[in-house]
């Protein structure tokens, strides 16, 4: 028996999915909306990268369907649930999850990576590589505590995607509204917004993030009853990280949009709209925003790639996600010591590297395709 659990981040992902689905449904008849995407999917590069991204997203979504298992209880007693939260991905990958070795083993190995004192069948103790419990099943080897590295890599995808997407979504409203408003209105509004982002930019990012994470940590401990599972606690910490990255990360895009809006507001279609007495809000929404969307799209994808990497860097420094949460950053953090070992344990780092590399590369190449498709100048060429 299981009981579904909705973590905060799951709720946000669900909301995001519903929004995207609604937008696609509304725009399904709009040919100018569909044509560029059709063009992207028609190109080989676009199709391949979109497929890769879809696989990543699928894994991330499976990993966002959380549940707790019901503990066996005596009849008539109230149902008791386990404190450990699993996801649909955990269920699918159960063999990988439960087939735990004692410690490091290299990819597809049959024996452990380090020699131990083992008792032979003849009762004599020898130093030798002990055989694995599940030889040849660990495609990417196992880590220090014997967990399957492939399982860890797949579980890290959700964390990476979540940081990339949520942070971008938190950042976008700031960047869009403040950037365009600064460029369009100019004067004191521009001064104020510029002052704000120059100040934000001059505070060292890691310092700000470290401080924010510590504050959240304290808050979680103060309200322990709200976060009764380890998963819920690390989830909140992840969201806090996204929030702080988002609140500080909008400055670059805002600066870009301000410059573009400065240019656009002098264009004659904006002047014509003003001559009609169209309200400022409507001019921002109808005339400026659609004309900066190509910039937004490109920089969002580039930021997304950067954020997946930033998570790794921050976890390495120790202010990233919860150490108990499986993420690329924590995998790399662990690899720091493994690389200092002799012989070197390389597969955990290699696995994190390959999974991140494929995700970021696919996202960048896909964005290139989308940008080409959305650019009216290149549309004629294809």
């Amino acid at each position: 028996m299981i009981k579904p659990v909705l973590l905060w981040s799951d709720a946000l992902i669900l909301l995001l999915l519903l929004t995207v689905a609604a937008l696609v449904w509304l725009a399904r008849k709009n040919d100018t909306f569909r044509a560029p995407w059709r063009q992207v999917m028609a190109s080989r590069m676009g199709f391949v990268t979109a497929s890769i991204l879809a696989v990543y997203a699928g894994i991330g979504l499976l990993d966002s369907m959380h549940y707790v298992e019901r503990l066996p209880s005596a009849p008539g007693q109230q149902a008791q649930y386990s404190g450990e939260v699993f996801s649909a991905l955990d269920a699918l990958l159960k063999p990988l999850r439960v087939n735990v070795e004692k410690t490091y083993s290299s990819p597809l190995a049959t024996h452990l990576y380090a020699k131990e004192t083992v008792q032979g069948p003849d009762g004599v103790e020898r130093r030798d590589y002990p055989p694995l419990k599940y030889p040849g099943t660990h495609l990417l080897g196992t880590d220090k505590v014997g967990q399957d590295v492939l399982y860890l890599s797949l579980k890290s995808i959700r964390t990476g995607l979540l940081i990339g997407t949520l942070t971008t979504l938190i950042m976008l409203p700031f960047a869009l509204s403040l950037g365009i408003a600064a460029g369009y209105f100019g004067g004191r509004i521009d001064d104020a917004i510029q002052y704000l982002y120059t100040t934000l930019n001059s505070i060292p990012g890691v310092l700000l993030i470290a401080a924010a994470v510590l504050v959240v940590q304290v808050q979680i401990e103060a309200h322990a009853e709200m976060f009764n599972t380890a998963a819920a606690r690390s989830d909140v910490r992840l969201l806090a990280l996204c929030a702080i990255l988002g609140v500080t990360g909008w400055t670059g895009l805002a600066r870009l949009l301000r410059a573009e809006a400065l240019k656009l507001r002098e264009l004659e279609f904006v002047q014509a709209a003003r001559a009609f007495g169209v309200t400022d809000a409507r001019i921002l929404l109808r005339h400026l925003l659609p004309n900066v969307m190509h910039l937004v799209l490109i920089s969002v994808v580039i930021d997304f790639s950067g954020l997946v990497l930033a998570e790794a860097v921050l976890s390495y420094v120790g202010v990233g996600v919860d150490p108990g949460m499986i993420s690329f950053g924590n995998m790399i953090n662990g690899a720091r010591l493994e690389l200092a070992r002799e012989p070197v344990v390389w597969w955990q780092l290699a696995a994190a590297f390959v999974f991140m590399f494929v995700l970021v590369l696919a996202a960048n190449l896909f964005a290139d395709q989308v940008r080409d498709a959305l650019d009216p100048k290149s549309r004629g060429r294809a």
Binding site: T32, L267, E268, F269, Q271, A272, A273, R274, A275, F276, G277, V278, T279, R282, R286, H287, P290, N291, P376, R381, A382
Partner: protein, 615 residues
């Protein structure tokens, strides 16, 4: 012989990408020659292939473009047979080119001297003191003083930049100078100076000059021989005198017929239907047949040969030699000249005054320093008074920077005026706020110069037209749709334009959309800010006719801002000449244009092309 000979030049551009490869032929068999000490004008509307021809001569075709066949010989040397390194010697040396935009053809972080020295070093090996001396001599020859040697491009005016660029190009002592629309971006008085300079330099140095232009008058003033291009081919090639006296190709004849001029006041301008066919069109027969008023069956099946219709006068038309005078008459006859009461009509007693401007001033504060204290004012508009009546066109003439656009924006309250009064239909605009101002906005609208930036590329035409109605008129959705359809019909656009985006339309059609957008809110006053200066002459004629029709139908008052005096002389009832933020002369068009009293007005009129370049 010396000079430049172009034979059967064909340019192909690969387009369509890998999935759908197409070959465009923007230039298809162009032959002409420029003798030593001769000026040849390559004349044509946009998209006819004249700039690509020039780039091909320099071997500077853009990516994807290549010379498919033909030869270019500079003093008997085949340029297409040279290696790239050898061509590098020729380019900027014996064969030099100046471009349209003086702003972008000079490097902004190098001084004029450095840029001229670069050319001197590359082509004549001059350095140090010798180079400085030579740069100075070159600058003097283009009429710039020694003090401009150490100036950066931003410190120079547009005309000075063009002079500096010419000096740079002269550094290599070219035998042939190609000038691609060298004065299009310049004011009319500066244009006259630059054209005179080019003419003088060409004669003093015995250079050949290839002048690429769309302006018939400029070509007439400058060229010894003129080649008229249409759809990638030369359709007529003759000495300037012969061509302007009796054009033989119907296209050339039409180009003359669509020009607005003082003596065409009151007439409806002839128009050239349709547009220049694109470079991907497959032609059968004559390329001009679809738009030609005298086309007959043979034109549709047989491509006319490029032949000598009269001594030294070549044309690509079946009718060129058979009928000297009668073709021309028939071209003119095919278009019924209808008197047009809306404009150019004898100036009657003024009707109701729509717009009245009194002592309007717009001063921009100049702020300096950390605290941005105001240290002075730039007086963009400095005490302007004018009035426009219903059904009347007031032309506001002036050069760039004289404040005419600022004046327009101040009238519309897009900029707050510093002082003065603007009243519309007797009601002062100053102090109006919120709803009252919005209602007043419906009575005055503006049409801008650039048909590309004046329409939001991400809105459909229907949405663009409905925007003003939604903001200013309270109409039901059905009434709005009906009105949009009606507007499209009025400006001569198909009804299915509603669902299309601006980029699907040509420049002239976009200008029609912009006019329809302004008309949507039923204004009484239309401010036209250079509405035709970005358009080809044939399209300009269509738009001017449309404006005349609309004025007649709706009794609109036009404030027509322009620098083009031929348009003014054709269209305006009254003219106001603006200089340095002030109106220096104002009066009825015919009087002012024929008997100007102000010195500046006279200078403007004398600078207009078509009166010879002077000496």
């Amino acid at each position: 012989m010396s000079g430049l000979v172009v034979e059967n030049l064909r340019i192909e551009i690969a387009a369509g990408g890998a999935s759908n490869p197409r070959v465009l032929k923007p230039v298809d068999g162009v032959s002409f020659e420029i003798g030593a000490n001769e000026c040849v004008a390559l004349l044509g509307e946009s998209g006819c292939g004249k700039s690509l021809t020039a780039l091909a001569l320099m071997r500077l075709l853009p990516d994807g473009g290549r010379v498919a066949s033909g030869s270019v010989r500079l003093a008997e040397e085949d340029l297409f047979a040279l290696t790239e390194a050898e061509m590098g010697e020729v380019r900027g040396g014996r064969l030099a080119m100046i471009f349209q935009e003086p702003q972008t053809s000079l490097n902004p972080v190098m001084t004029v001297a450095e840029q001229i020295d670069e050319a001197l070093m590359a082509h004549r090996g001059l350095t140090g003191a010798a180079a400085t001396e030579e740069s100075l001599r070159l600058l003097e020859s283009v009429g710039l003083g020694a003090d401009k040697l150490d100036a950066y491009p931003f410190q120079l005016s547009g005309g000075q930049r063009q002079r500096a660029l010419i000096a740079m190009m002269l550094a290599g002592e070219p035998e042939v100078l190609i000038a691609d629309e060298p004065t299009t971006a310049l004011d009319v008085t500066v244009q006259a100076q630059i054209l005179r300079l080019l003419k003088d330099l060409q004669q003093q140095r015995g250079m050949s000059l290839l002048l690429i232009t769309h302006d018939l008058d400029v070509a007439h003033d400058m060229a010894d021989r003129v080649a008229v291009m249409y759809a990638g081919q030369i359709v007529e090639w003759a000495s300037s005198d012969a061509l302007y006296a009796a054009p033989r190709h119907p296209y050339t004849q039409k180009l003359f017929a669509v020009l607005p001029r003082l003596d065409r006041r009151g007439e409806r301008l002839d128009s050239l239907p349709g547009r220049v066919p694109g470079p991907d069109t497959l032609f059968v027969g004559c390329r001009f047949a679809d738009r030609c008023p005298v086309a007959f069956e043979r034109c549709r099946v047989e491509t006319p040969a490029f032949h000598e219709a009269a001594p030294g006068h070549f044309a690509r038309c079946h009718l060129a030699d058979s009928a000297d005078e009668s073709t021309s008459r028939r071209v003119r006859h095919a278009h019924q000249i209808t008197p047009n009461g809306a404009h150019g009509a004898p100036y009657a007693a003024p009707l109701a005054v729509v717009l009245e401007v009194r002592d309007l001033a717009v001063h921009f504060p100049i702020r300096k320093g950390l605290l941005k204290r105001t240290i002075g004012h730039a007086k963009a508009v400095d005490g302007v008074s004018l009035q426009v009546a219903a059904g009347e066109t007031l032309a506001l003439v002036g050069e760039s920077g004289c404040g005419k656009t600022t004046l327009a924006r101040a009238i519309l309250r897009l900029i707050e005026p510093t002082a003065g009064r603007v009243s519309l239909l007797g009601e002062p605009l100053a102090g109006l706020r919120g709803e009252a101002l919005r209602r007043k906005r419906a009575e005055m609208q503006i049409v801008f110069q650039d048909p590309f930036s004046s329409l939001n590329p991400r809105m459909k035409v229907g949405e663009i037209l409905a925007e003003g109605m939604a903001a200013l008129l309270s109409l039901s959705a059905a009434a709005q749709r009906e009105r949009v359809a009606d507007l499209l019909n009025q400006v001569g656009l198909p009804a299915d334009a509603v669902g299309r985006y601006p980029h699907e339309f040509s420049g002239g059609q976009r200008q029609r959309i912009a006019i329809a957008r302004a008309l949507a809110v039923e204004p009484k006053l239309l401010i036209l800010d250079e509405p035709t200066s970005a358009l080809d002459v044939s399209v300009q004629a269509q738009i001017l006719n449309l404006l005349a029709d609309l004025q007649q139908q709706h009794g609109l008052a036009y404030l027509f801002i322009t620098h083009n005096l031929s348009v003014v002389s054709y269209l305006a009832h009254r003219v106001a000449v603006m200089q340095g933020g002030k109106i220096v002369e104002q009066g009825e068009a015919e009087t002012l244009l024929t008997r100007p009293e102000n010195a500046y007005t006279r200078l403007l009129l004398d600078s207009a092309p078509g009166r010879g370049v002077g000496s």
